[in-house]
Amino acid sequence: MKQTEKKGTIQDINGPIVTIKLPGVQNGEQVRIGSLGLYGEVISLEGEEALAQIYESTEMVRPGEPAEGLGHPLSVELGPGLIGGIFDGVQRPLEEMFLKAGDQIPRGLSPLPLDREKLWRFVPSETLEPNMPIIGGARLGVVQETETVEHRIIVPPDIEGELIELAPEGDYNLEETIGQVRDRRGQVRHLKLYHRWPVRKPRPYQSRDNGVEPLITGQRILDTFFPLLKGSKCAVPGPFGAGKTVVQHQVARWANADIVIYVGCGERGNELVDVLDSFPKLKDPYTDRPLMDRTLLIANTSNMPVVAREASIYVGITIAEYYRDQGYDVVMLADSTSRWAEALREVSGRLGQMPVEEGYPAYLASRLAAFYERAGRVETMDCGKGSITLIGAVSPPGGDFSEPVTSHTKEIIQTFWALSKELADARHYPAIDWVDSFSADVGTAAEWWHESIDRGWEKRRAQALGMLARDAELSRIVNLVGPEALSSAQRWVLEGATLIKEGVLQQSALDPVDTFSSPEKQFMLLDLILSVYDEGAALIELGVPVQELAEMPVLARLRRCKELYDSSQTDQLKAFRNEALKDFKEIHSEYAQRGEQTA
């Protein structure tokens, strides 16, 4: 990176878009403008003039004020101290800004993202020795970042050569040299515990790899019905009030990932506070340590400047790639990508670019695709495996899934968790619509479920979905001619579908037991409800009236199983299963006897 400073002046201010005269500035370069030193980024060049988008409000900035080029594109600091933090859309640490500057975010303030004073215990890799050739992405050693996360210090991807020296185990701050590498041009590069990386440039890896196991979120409708593989891409579209944010929070809480990055992109301030308040108190179900020990938040609330919103998801994904390069499974949640797209639209509108659909610029689809493609499971430079699972919320205007952002996103992703207003209105949560949602990863997920949980998974899943489809069909008939038109068997299908909806699909994020369901519990519940349905269907064949079955007290209890037994109480659940099926057996033998008598 060049360190030459370029000076110029402001020519024109049009909201967040500022024209500056700054000869020699590069496209994409960071700039500071005005007497306050507001941060921004060059987005186009024309002759001596450059257009810059400014991350902060430009109120009271005037033409003629100075502008300066910083010589590098928008970059993030990558090193220990990221986890547990909350940063704004351009990686400024919000906690520190609060301590320094008070309730509101002042302009022109730019504290360093990572703490320079703090000492970290660095343990060098034993396999490394001086004079060894070393490549970008190679592991130099480790630092215990939080109790949960071991931070693997890696050589920046753009450096390779010969290792001259590696520091011994000890306490170092971020600015101390922990290694020296002579690169290909013979220059000695000093490596520190952190490095910088431009956010718009994907970090390199060796090769792409297929996803092999599902991300377990503890949410039944997600894991069982629309599974998402680690390293896969997923969209969660839904109108307001359908529960996008709760779904995202639940995934952030319960996913079996190593690192969770939550990007609040143009969303509500109070919801981020909810995360900030609750995560330190919640326990990670896999490690039993505070959730915040594996979580990092990027917050650009809806009232923060729009240009920083555009940057925020790139900041998030770059940090995700950095942990992926350390060999971790990372989940990144972006809430919401529509706000990001709108930020693109706003900037393009101010530039007077030709709008194509609903005011969005023509490059919307390609930008979306390029962003989502940064997710994936890869073989890292270090020959490890790492993954980024990307879950983007989409906020379609009026809940219309045919609008540009939703439809372009749908073309890129593998899993689609569609939220429905109707379900949310009936307080069926999570309001994920089983008709509109899809997962392209069911085959791979099935292998994992069959291996780890039960061989019957794929069959039971298909049976349940089939019943739900049948239920929709029969409900249409009922709505036309009334329930009396249905046969007993058909009415039992309706009962069975209701059991699936209430006993499996509906899951309360607020109930302490129900909020998380282990894969074992998920399958047991589904299997139990379907077994009850099967038993009932057999009884109906024997002539048992559907009314008698529907009023069996065991069904009410069946609906509550999800909140009565937590994931560790599989034995109790099994006991209940036997009890429930016994009730059916009794009716069975009763009617079978009767049948024999009449025969």
Partner: protein
Amino acid sequence: MSAKEYRTASAARGGLLTVADVPNIAFGDRVRIRDQQGNTRNGQVIRSSNEEVLVQVFEGTAELDLESTWVRFLDEPVEIALSPEILGRVFNGLGEPRDYRPPIVSNLRRSISAAAFNPAARTYPKEFIQTGVSTIDGLNSLVRGQKLPIFSASGLPHNRLAAQIVRQAKLPDDDSRFSVVFAAMGVSYSDARFFQEEFASSGVLGNVVMFVNMADDPPVERLTLPRMALTAAEYLAFDLDRHVLVVMTDMTHYAEALREVATAKGDVPARKGYPGYLYSDLAEIYERSGRIKDRHGSITLVPVLSMPSDDITHPIPDLTGYITEGQIVLSRELNNQGIYPPVHISPSLSRLMKDGIGKDFTREDHPHVSNQLYALYARALETRNLASIIGADELSARDRRYLEFADAFESRFVRQGEDEDRSIEETLNLAWDLLSAFPPQALTRVNETEIAKYHRQSE
């Protein structure tokens, strides 16, 4: 303040005035314009370059000519003067008095476009506010620091409901100081008078600051008005430690004014002619509500907006719903049946309810009761549809019970008097009256202990 006046206006279009050859004018600067008769108008710089400056004129550019228009740049952002004296006063969208009393004199002046609150400085709102309205308290609870809009439509009693909330809102067992900031944009004289009389008759007038822009006042002023109002609210909440309830009506007029100006500027329209930044712009307003760490006061925001043609997917209600923490939706159908307040609960929602209710806040059964009512009412509405097709006589006994529930729910729970102030205890007991029409096993959202305690049949 710069004394220099420019006479270089080069274009006037709608609410926009272009001034040429004025160097180094700040973006967002306040402008004073003098016309040939010597009358002054106010404006703000919305684009500034070395060649020309674009000024948004609040009073419009009608009757201005380019030759004898004098423009002065004040070198300060749009500000409001603040002191405790603002309580009981009425201002326009520029912060000037419109109650024929002298302007506020104070050293404290604040820019109305405040910087965003740092999310790390916020605290999560969780104090239940009792409004005395069952459909809000019981099913869509409001908490201190929340922004909860009323989605209404023309001809529906949103103003009466807003006034009822202002009159009755209180925290159970808490009588700390509260204030109301009332922001009216593009309202009719009768609506403005209605609120003024409401505040006077309920004796809160001395605690109210009103910002009023009438339907025949300049629309551009509607753009600064909510920001004036919120700056005043922030002062009351975070400087004077008051709990402030901000009522804004009608946000639709605000958005229309924004569209008017955007179109004049030549901004690329996104949906229905509204500019692409409508979301960010509305968010700047709505997100100024909330609670701040170590501050005693709070800002609770209840914006009222009318849905054009009753369409909830129209950009204004749609974008609002994505920013606010829920919405209270009024229904024309209920209103036509003479039910007040005509709150349609199905699309209504309060996102912050979950942490402000239940044990320690309202009553332990509250979350479940709310859930149960929602589920039953959804089912009941389906049944009602069915009944309208096949006739109520064809329904099973089970379905008829749902039908009866829907009627009872609307006429007893939703409907209440304009002066009827129900405590949360009363609301929940009323809910159990309705739930008790069902046998306990049909109530799957409430738990067994609650059924044993509150269900009438198990007594």
